[in-house]
């Protein structure tokens, strides 16, 4: 046997071992400083390592990053997160019962999409990956529309062409999701460069998982964003796992993902992704900075993927079953709920009533969605739609193939 000197990253625990999150560097709530919007990058390198947190262990909002949101806004945020979760939960079950072919939940990381979207303007352009369904909830896309996409039915926004969860919404300024990781990250930068060229006030924001930051497109995004000071927020959702591979394999063993920012001359913020208030405040800061032309920000949102990667995945094969139970940053819904209760603006009863109301909303939406068809039950999308939109105008060879399919289906 040869002796190998290669280093291979080791996760904190595998199945059967005790979860140990001591690798995670945590700062107490309220400690990280909040610099001026137009601060020089070299003066805030520390924020790429510290953890921006607002909610403390007593459920209080503390420190300079407290966004001082009105309680009514916090209640809206709670509602959005709870609706996202109720929707995910039901769609997971619908996949299990064979109604849809595939699903991906955002369980445990709902604060990321919800708080970030609330801190942005409706005209800001969003380039999400597949785990930011909260963006659709905040921007008010009816759940029925999302469900119709999942069902590939006659009201499917993608006309049956995409795998479930690969939504898009032009009017809502949410870009089409690609199944290929990280591709949309540098595209968001291009969109932002165009906004700057056109003198628009709007900014772009994009999301990838920490695993996806390994792709070359991540570096393209960072480079173009920093070279042109594009008005964009580049978000890395560090939920610790990329399918079976822990964040060390994306380079997280040696330094934070936010720390990639200073290397490119770009602001980097490391944020408690399960702290609604911290996520909101940091996004507000980065958005203002981008809008005034002071440059892009890379934001690492430290969170945990509490659910399986997708309905095709079984996480008990690669991480301890009780991993999430020991996760030190808790649950984003619970934390915001407890804060609202602590400030006298919420109660267990109101919480239970809201949960029931949202559940009913999901039920009603599903009932309506299936009337437009499912993968197996009519009405069905017209298969000839498959040939449309390959090009703006259908070329001859596709017209010929469409006619061939027509004959095939007619059994000629």
């Amino acid at each position: 046997m040869r002796r190998s000197r290669l280093h291979t990253p080791k996760p904190h625990a595998r199945p059967g071992e005790t979860p140990d999150f001591s690798y995670l560097e945590l700062s107490p709530a309220g400690v990280a400083p909040r610099p001026d919007i137009n601060v020089r990058v070299r003066d805030i390198n520390g924020l790429a390592y510290e953890l921006i947190r607002v909610l403390d262990d007593e459920h209080r909002a503390v420190g300079p990053w407290n966004p001082h949101l009105d309680p009514s806004e916090l209640q809206v945020g709670l509602r959005h997160m709870m609706l996202t979760r109720a929707f995910d939960d039901r769609m997971q079950r619908m996949q299990r019962s064979g109604k849809i072919s595939f699903y991906m939940r955002s369980l445990g990381e709902e604060a990321v999409a919800v708080a970030q979207c609330m801190a942005l303007r409706p005209t800001d352009m969003l380039f999400p990956a597949y785990r930011q369904q909260g963006l659709y909830v905040v921007r008010g896309r009816p759940l029925v529309d999302l469900m119709c996409q999942l069902l590939s039915n006659t009201r499917d926004m993608c006309k049956g062409r995409q795998l479930p969860v690969m939504y898009h919404w032009r009017e809502g300024n949410i870009f089409s999701i690609s199944g290929n990781l990280t591709t949309q990250f540098p595209q968001a930068v291009g969109w932002a460069m165009a906004a700057a060229i056109k003198g628009q006030d709007d900014i772009a924001a994009s999301w990838i998982g920490e695993g996806s930051s390994a792709e070359a497109d991540f570096h393209h995004a960072m480079l173009f964003a920093s070279v042109y000071r594009a008005p964009v927020i580049l978000n890395v959702v560090n939920n610790q796992w990329a399918i079976s591979t822990f964040q060390g394999f994306a380079g997280g063993e040696h330094r934070s993902f936010a720390a990639r920012g200073p290397g490119f001359g770009m602001a980097g913020l490391r944020v408690d992704g399960n702290d609604f208030l911290a996520v909101y405040a940091a996004t507000q800061w980065a958005a203002e900075r981008a809008r005034m032309g002071a440059g892009a920000t890379i934001m690492e949102l430290v969170t945990y993927r509490a659910a399986a990667h997708s309905t095709s995945d079984d996480p008990s094969r690669y991480r301890p079953k009780d991993d999430y139970d020991r996760w030190p940053l808790g649950d984003p819904v619970e934390r915001l709920k407890n804060h609202l209760i602590a400030i006298g603006e919420w109660s267990e009863d109101r919480h239970a009533a809201l949960a029931a109301e949202l559940d009913e909303h999901v039920t009603q939406s599903w009932r309506q969605a299936v009337t437009y068809g499912t993968l197996t039950e009519p009405p069905r999308l017209d298969p000839h739609l498959m040939f449309a939109d390959v090009f703006k105008h259908m070329p001859e060879h596709l017209k010929k193939q469409e006619a061939q399919l027509h004959a095939e289906l007619a059994g000629e």
Partner: protein, 338 residues
Amino acid sequence: MAQMNMIQALNSAMDIMLGRDPNVVILGEDVGYFGGVFRVTDGLQRKYGEHRVLDTPIAEGGIVAAAIGMGVNGLRPVAEVQFADYIYPAYDQIVSELARLRYRSAGDFFAPVTIRTPCGGGIRGGQTHSQSPEGIFAHVSGLKVVMPSNPYDAKGLLIAAIEDDDPVVFFEPKRIYNGPFDGDPNKPAVPWSTHPKGEVPEGHYTVPIGKAEVVREGGDVSIVTYGTMVHVCEAAARSLGLDAEVIDVRSMVPLDVETLVNSVKKTGRCVVVHEATRFGGFGGELSATLQEECFWHLEAPILRVAGWDTPYPHAFEWEYFPGQKRVARALTAVMEAR
């Protein structure tokens, strides 16, 4: 001999090569501890250690580039790209580097890299889990390109690929990982144990790269195909009661022209079938070669059957997939031509 599905056969090939040659290493996304999303590398890291079976960052370009560097330094890397649909970030490394290294260095440098990647549709995977991009790799000079259609060939071809000093892009039709598939999604799944090619030797053997196989002899018409479509074509010919000769190309580059030509000269009729899109696809190369070599023996134009020239649509999988019906229509047309 043992009963194996394609996943087990591929696993066995890598197991044997890791055991025989200390320079063989495996790398890819989720291939190590987890054993791969299709479980093709299951148990190999446990057996050979983390320095022989490496989990990698999610960076296909990095995976192939690192494999090239390892190959140059004497290792024999087997890189997995999780889905063929995700091979494009590695395209530059494959085309500009891996394929041309031997040529541009006048044979002084080479990288014996095998790139394994699951391809093809039929699994409700939508456009990013269903593609068949073999044609765009076959078009690149300097790459060997293979696609097995059964467990026996899968193991023998993979061992041959790993032992080969040239780069090999090894496509695995994932729809037939667990059993042959005749194109009818409404039939219950059939395991490989029902198929003679599910019998696989436990030890080392090779299926030579560059050899096609006549999987069914016949006199009426030659069907030239590969991958999942081998099984679809056999069923289509059966449904028509045709005495078709079915040829599994197995290796696109190098191509076994002789076996194909002999068959078409004998039958005088030919249908070329693949799952990939038609326009500019590998079927064009097959058809053109056969036309050049067999023109005076042909009794009908050679027809091609393929996927439509659209991205792979999620909801219309079975209208898109070139199933038995589409193959049968072409066979009928070729048989009726006078």
